[in-house]
């Protein structure tokens, strides 16, 4: 059971939000744009995601979100700082910086992310320098902001711009140090009073705290999203390929992959083909027909999962599955037979429900086969060998809603003499073999 339990197919076709533990993060980050009533929180979320697209990797989006967040923080802080008693020039600088920084959002909106980060950090640095060295002077305490913004570039520049981030950061740190070394030079006359100086220094500390807080928070959300995307990819991969095959193929590039084929001495192969499908295809639109196949084969998929039978693939209206591929060859033929019976039951019920003249022919054969993945593109798990050739021939000879089987499968029946002989069949590879048929209650009961 464990071999198949790790594959959870239904998760994939339903929207993944509902089923994943990381769903909350996903809804918050990606679907923020869908919130129609702009609550303050919703509005904040939406504004911080300006310029972020769904196709973007969460790791890249992180830097853009942080840039927008710092713009918003600055926009909130600016009015508070403007209200502090200070020379007019100081207020003008603050307002100018506040306005210029808003352009960053526009740049992000136009996908000029590196430029946006550069503008944010440069305007902040130039603003602080103007305030300290030209405007209100060192006694206002604005130089402490230069210290804090010395680490902002590292959190805001896109991944490939570390050099530029280091440059701007060093300049900011230098501005702070210069203010300390040349304190006597800058605007000695201004004395803003203890309250203003304290507010400026505390404001700088607060900004540092906010940078720390948001950096951590947004990094965590991005991690959650990357993890979610990875688990979705893995889940999908485990659905299209058996997990041991996916694990072996993963990590090697297409051209360097070894042929992946495993020899199995005893596998029970089921080939199930829809009888009356050609007739149906003449009366139904192709879309309808594909929908019909999808519905029926999805029910078969669930059957296989429950019966410890491995679905191999579908080819047109044929469904191929096998038992005994996971080191569970013991009693593989009886598992395959009960799965085949269940397929017939499910099809009969399906045909009744939809009012269609639909049936299946099933061939079950037991023997040697090779399982694996061929080629480099459109990889799919497939089965080759004598057992497959026999099962195909058996399917063609089977009665509608009946099972045709070969000798090695027949011996697994509680009453091996129950099936009626079908005579000799000729497999695709030219081999002849005796075949038997199970019909009526024996096949579906």
């Amino acid at each position: 059971m464990t071999a198949l339990a790790d594959e959870a197919p239904t998760l994939l076709r339903a929207p993944l939000e509902a089923s994943e533990s990381g769903a909350k993060t996903r809804v918050e980050l990606v679907d923020a744009a869908r919130i129609s009533l702009p609550t303050p929180r919703g509005l904040w979320q939406r504004l911080t995601r300006i310029g972020v697209t769904r196709a973007m990797s969460p790791a890249d989006a992180k830097y853009i979100i942080l840039v927008n967040t710092f713009v918003l923080i600055n926009t909130v802080l600016t009015p508070c700082l403007v209200l502090l008693p200070q020379p007019l020039s100081g207020r003008l600088i603050l307002l100018l910086v506040g306005a210029l920084v808003l352009l960053v959002l526009a740049l992000n909106h136009r996908r000029r992310h590196a430029l946006a980060a550069l503008l944010l950090n440069t305007v902040a640095l130039v603003g602080v320098c103007a305030q300290t060295f030209v405007g209100s002077g060192v006694n206002l305490g604005s130089q402490f902001f230069a210290l804090v913004i010395a680490c902002a570039p590292f959190f805001t520049f896109p991944r490939e711009r570390t050099g530029l981030a280091l440059l701007i950061a060093t300049l900011s740190a230098a501005a702070f140090v210069v203010a300390g070394f040349f304190y006597a030079t800058f605007n000695q006359a201004t004395s803003a009073g203890p309250l203003v100086f304290t507010s400026a220094v505390t404001g700088a500390a607060l900004l540092a705290a906010l940078i720390g807080y948001y950096t951590r928070r947004i990094a965590r959300e991005a991690e959650g999203l990357t993890e979610l995307k990875r688990s979705q990819t893995d889940l999908l991969l485990r659905t299209v390929l058996p997990s041991h095959v996916a694990a072996r193929l993963k990590g090697s590039r297409a051209h360097e992959r070894e042929p992946l084929a495993e020899q199995h001495d005893r596998v029970s192969v089921i080939v199930c083909d829809i009888a009356g499908f050609t007739a149906l295809s003449e009366t139904m639109a192709p879309e309808e027909l594909v929908g019909l196949l999808d519905a029926l084969f999805s029910e078969f998929d669930a059957l296989c999962l429950g019966a410890r039978v491995e679905k191999i693939r579908t080819i047109g209206d044929a469904y191929i599955a096998a038992a005994g591929l996971r080191g569970d060859a013991e009693r593989s033929s009886s598992r395959a037979l009960s799965c085949a019976r269940a397929m017939i039951r499910v099809t009969e019920a399906f045909a009744r429900r939809r009012g269609l003249a639909l049936g299946v022919r099933v061939g079950v054969s037991t023997g040697a086969a090779v399982a694996g993945v061929l080629g480099k593109r459109r990889l799919s798990y497939d089965l080759w060998g004598p057992a497959v050739h026999r099962a195909t021939a058996l399917e063609a000879a089977a009665p509608v809603n009946g099972i045709a089987l070969d000798d090695d499968t027949r011996v697994a029946l509680p009453d091996p003499d129950a099936p009626a002989p079908l005579g000799e069949l000729r497999a695709l590879d030219g081999a002849s073999f005796p075949a038997y048929a199970l019909t009526g209650s024996a096949s579906s009961g």
């Binding site: 210290l147 959190f155 230098a174 304290t198 995307k229 999908l236 390929l241 192709p286 061929l374 590879d429």
Partner: protein
Amino acid sequence: MSGRGVTRLTRLGVDDALTGVDAQRVVLINVLALLGIAIIASLTAISAITRTELALAVQLSAAAVLLLVLWLHGRRRYWEAAVMIPLVVIFAGVARPLLALDLPGSHDFLIVNAMLPFLVLPVRFGRTAETLSLVSVLLCGLLTYRDATRYTYQELMALNTSYLQSQYVSMAVVMVCIGLFMRRINLRADAAAEAERARAELLLHDVLPAPIADAMIAGDGASARRHGDVSVLFANIEGFATIAAGLAPLEQVTLLDGLFRVYDDLCDRHGVEKIKSFGDVYMVASGLESSGGEHAERLTAFALELVAATEAYARRRGRALPLRVGIHSGPVVAGVIGEMRFTYDLWGDTVNTAQRMEANGVRGRVQVSFVTYSKINHKFRCELRDVIEIKGKIPMQTYLVRAPDGGRTP
């Protein structure tokens, strides 16, 4: 101390049990502890006011706590070590007013400390980090106000020049260091996470066409879609099962694998879409993407090379592999069905007819339907084959495409 010794000290507590980001964080904390000790030492060396008995006692205790951080890492006590870093800065900040120590401005490190807890503490200590940060901001405000009521910044600087200047330099260095370090941590973590995801995605894109795979990863599902005009090709080695009957099953599969790899490369080169292979049948389509112009011509050119490539492969392997190829053009429905082991597939009468073009084909030749012929005859020389009877169909006129050497120029 030698460079290697420093490296070993910064990696104290890092072992294989720690994953990437956690290990990096331990290194960051070690670097901060060493940097802190260096700062304390240089402050003591540079500024006379730090050399009173009381001041020395405070600084020695701070240095001792920083050594404790390294010791804790040696004992693999990670979160205790992490929390010591912001605590020691708070201690140095409050020691002064509590002990009536005359070191004005010594609390400025609390500004850096407002950010530090978020960077050094493990993710699950979010609440602790927030508290330590908030305490730092409040203390910074209180202590700054205490100084500011007595001195302006310039007066303060004039009184304690060397002390404050060296402290500011250290603050600036610490700020740039932690920024740079955090960036390194982030970049590495991102790269690792994306590499892991890319590995799975790369394989997935070898299984399903990229748009289908991406839609399914995004949870949108992939509903079947109608395409009005595409060309579909089937290729099959005639009687492969009997040809290969003398080979062991594994050898048969290896023979096919080699052949299909050649075909897959040809698909890439001609820009046609492999749909699937099953058994010894290989199925290709073109015109499914929006760049559908000339899809029949592209597929025919591909088919002719397929025949040539198969002959070359058969010669290399020393056995006869007679290939039949059939092409037909028309509308199809494309998509995936079922919930497990789904493959991208095509349905519709066009597919059935294309398969019959192959089944009724001629060894080593490409057979096309009249529909396909009418699309390609301006570019390829074709010869009319007799009207043939196809199972379940009205009789159809089919054509055999001539190989390019005789066919390109009419």
